[in-house]
């Protein structure tokens, strides 16, 4: 029966291919979008957990943008007074608070922008994953620099080498190189905070304060207190992640809606194709009835054909989604600002199953009416109709 159904589908290969292609396209888009949302949420989650920072004090402006920029190691145009740091440290709920001063040095000749970050040792507990390569280590003097792994590779420097920064006309000594962490730290240059303040003429200013609380559940009440600090606003990571995910989710809902619509349209083509198959084969179906096929047999045959058609289409769509997930990831990364570093596309078996299920469900719904039409044919009506 199934082989017979396949042969019937192969009778009009182009029409069958087009119909299956429509289903494939819809399922592919649906799967990619769902995978994207899933992957985005997961990588964001991982990235935020790894931060070791639960809260951040940033200058006024869009707080989420500011926080995201700091997390991604991008410079802020505005800054906080150092007194904000002192105020935070006074709060009893705070376990650790570390100042950050970020500045970007554009290097057009090399086609990149170097991020310089002023830090002090209070940052270390907030970056528990930091490991120094080999015997390298923490700053030894004000002109020490710690380089992220990638930064060291691009500059072709090793621990102990010196590094000249032509833009600020300073000579540095590389005290440490960080092992690769997969975060934005990999491409940064860390210097003692006072050095950074001098370099960028930001004496007494910082860009952000990273905060870890003694008890993370105190975040909400602590946030209210930090909000009182003049010239600063507070962002909790949970909130920030929430904002990101709602933003991404709402865009995604829209896109999934469109993909769903595409699926419905592909369902209509399946419907149309199946109905045409029944019409074309009316005489044959009559011959089958004469040969002992019951209504149920024809119902089953036509229904099988439409399931095979959409099943094949869905499979193809998923295959394409998997094969091109890295390309899709590339485009998604270009389209989504401040995307997390982890994998954006996460096509889990559950999602694949859901999409295939949706595709086949469409096939089933679209196949019902044509199959019923086939089953309802009167044997002689079927013969006569096409005898004319």
């Amino acid at each position: 029966m199934i082989r017979f159904a396949i042969k019937n589908l192969c009778r009009r290969p182009i029409r069958t291919a087009l119909t299956a292609g429509g289903v494939a396209a819809a399922v592919c888009v649906l799967a990619s979008l769902l995978a994207f949302g899933e992957g985005y949420r997961k990588s964001l989650d991982i990235e935020l957990k790894r931060m070791g920072i639960q809260m951040m004090l940033v200058p006024p402006g869009c707080p989420y943008d500011a926080a995201a920029r700091v997390l991604k190691g991008k410079a802020l145009d505005v800054s906080l007074p150092e007194s904000a740091l002192a105020a935070v440290r006074l709060d009893s709920a705070v376990a650790q608070a570390a100042p950050l001063l970020m500045a970007a040095i554009p290097r057009p000749s090399e086609g990149r922008t170097d991020m310089w970050v002023g830090i002090d040792e209070t940052l270390l507990p907030l970056k528990p994953w930091w490991k120094f390569a080999g015997k390298s280590g923490w700053f030894t003097n004000p002109s020490s620099v710690i380089m992220g792994n990638e930064a060291a590779v691009t500059e072709m420097r090793r621990a102990g080498d010196s590094l000249y920064s032509p833009e600020t006309k300073r000579e540095f000594h590389i005290s440490g190189i960080l092992e690769r962490s997969g975060t934005s730290d990999d491409s940064m240059f860390f210097v003692p905070i006072q050095t950074a303040q001098e370099m960028f003429h930001q004496e007494g200013r910082i860009t952000a304060v990273g905060i870890r609380l003694k008890d993370p559940s105190q975040a909400a009440t602590a946030a209210v207190r930090f909000q009182q600090i003049p010239g600063a606003q507070v962002v909790t990571m949970g909130e920030m992640m929430g904002t990101f995910t709602t933003l991404v989710d709402s865009v995604r809902t829209l896109m999934v809606g469109i993909a769903g619509l595409a699926l419905v349209v592909s369902g209509l083509t399946v419907f149309n194709t199946m109905l045409a198959m029944v019409m074309e084969r009316t005489r044959e179906l009559g011959v089958m009835r004469a040969a002992g096929a019951g209504r149920g047999h024809l119902l089953k045959l036509l229904f099988t054909e439409s399931l095979l058609l959409t099943g094949f289409g869905s499979g193809l769509g998923l295959l394409i989604a998997v094969l091109f997930s890295s390309t899709a990831e590339h485009f998604a990364r270009m389209a989504v600002p401040l995307a997390p570093d982890g994998r954006l596309m996460d096509l889990s078996p559950a999602i694949a199953l859901q999409c295939a299920g949706a595709g086949i469900l469409v096939g089933a719904v679209a196949g019902i009416y044509p199959a019923c039409r086939a089953a309802a044919l009167q044997p002689i009506a079927a013969m006569r109709e096409s005898a004319q």
Partner: protein
Amino acid sequence: MATTTEKPIIEAQNLSREYARGPEHVNALSNVSFHVMPGEMTAIVGPSGAGKSTLLHLIGCMDLPTSGSLHIDGVDTAGLKDRQLTRLRRDSVGFVFQQFGLIPTLNVLENVLMPTLFSGRQEAARALQLLEQVGLAHRAKHRPHELSGGEMQRTAIARALINSPRILLADEPTGNLDSASGAEVLQLFKSLNSKGLTVVLVTHNESAAATASRRMTIADGQLVADIRQ
């Protein structure tokens, strides 16, 4: 050939079939009564539009009479449900059509086996044997479009026989064939009939009618002559 102790295999009493064509009613068949004994070979003849196909479809349980009664292979068809009619059709009759009705995507062997898709029986060996019998064993793997008209019709006959029916119904089986292939097909009917198969064929062709042992003439929906030759 028919002995009086045997029961008729087809028994029709006052069979009528009316069609509604717009507001008027067409009596395609009115009050036709006859019976056919097992092993008979009957030709139904008559002018176009006389009701020959209508009668054949009734006998084949493809259609139901408006009134009258019909027994096929001992089963009263009155009040049978679609499912039961289907079963009767599958087990008791084989159909052969003027246009062959082969499925183009299936090869000869698969076409012969097509009815077993619906009966669930395994008949591969029997299919090969039937192809042997109709002289098409060497064509088993060919597609219908690679066959001559006569070969297509012989394939259709093998298909009609796959479920071992007792009755073979044919509606103008030679209508689309040249005279040589037509004669071959008729010869095949004759030899099947000589092995005990009951054959009813509708024909316009005089020589085809002459091969049968009985000739029923239908005109205007009525049985006007019934001659055993």
